[in-house]
Symmetry: C2
Subunit: 116 residues, 2 copies
DNA sequence: AATCTTGTGCTACTTTTACAGCACAATGCT
DNA sequence: AGCATTGTGCTGTAAAAGTAGCACAAGATT
């Protein structure tokens, strides 16, 4: 496990966003309750709620007040090619002992040069 | 241009870290002064200095007090394979209209599953 | 209908982070 | 030697983010 425990709303947002866009959390699947997520990551409820709000704004999840939160139907999973390239990058980096944070920084750097 | 202007010490850190590890900033090459970086990104000097400190702790840069800051000799650039995979991922994502932030979230997600 | 679940929305407090601005020490340059 | 450059370290202040705890509304469950 390389993953550090998320400790801010943005990090919790990114965690679920990644799980959804990578297909680890499928269409219609249920997320933990806000309270549960807050407990899981040892943050305040307001912090977890903020993350969920942001995911909902982006249409990744749907909340129905007493029925919990679920992955929004359709349009959630990223194209397979992207996921496969991400997997390939992860493998290459780990094999070369490049940290996740460094890998992300490199990705940001090359993104700039290819940008439209 | 997808790149947003960094607005915190961590983001400035990541910006230079990415430039160095991707080879955009070569061995021995000089970085802007702390004051200049602060101006460039409209942050306080202390914020820019903090980012430089963090890079120095990680051995990515070398500072000599009145001679400025330079990329540390050796061991800066990541293996070519990593850079190429990063480039491939960037292209795939942009082609599929997946944002940088989403791409990073996906990378984090798959990283967890491959981790040692 | 009564009750439990769940997301939301407060309030007041604490912690973290950034800010502005300056002074200092080390070093390069002339 | 004298001056400019540059990283560092301070002060006090302000803004942003998180915390704890609770109350409420919408809806599910029994």
């Amino acid at each position: 496990m390389t993953g550090t425990t998320p400790s801010s709303a943005d990090e919790i947002d990114a965690l679920f966003r990644g799980a959804i866009r990578s297909g680890q959390l499928g269409d219609g699947e249920r997320l933990p309750t806000v309270r549960q997520t807050a407990r899981d990551f040892s943050v305040a409820q307001a912090t977890a709620a903020k993350a969920y709000k942001s995911l909902e704004r982006d249409g990744l999840i749907v909340t129905r007040t007493a029925a919990g939160t679920r992955v929004a139907p359709g349009a959630s999973r990223a194209p397979q090619a992207v996921i496969e390239h991400a997997r390939a990058l992860a493998e290459a980096s780990e094999g070369a002992l490049v940290t996740l944070e460094d890998t992300i920084a490199i990705l940001r750097a090359v993104w700039r040069t290819e940008a439209t």
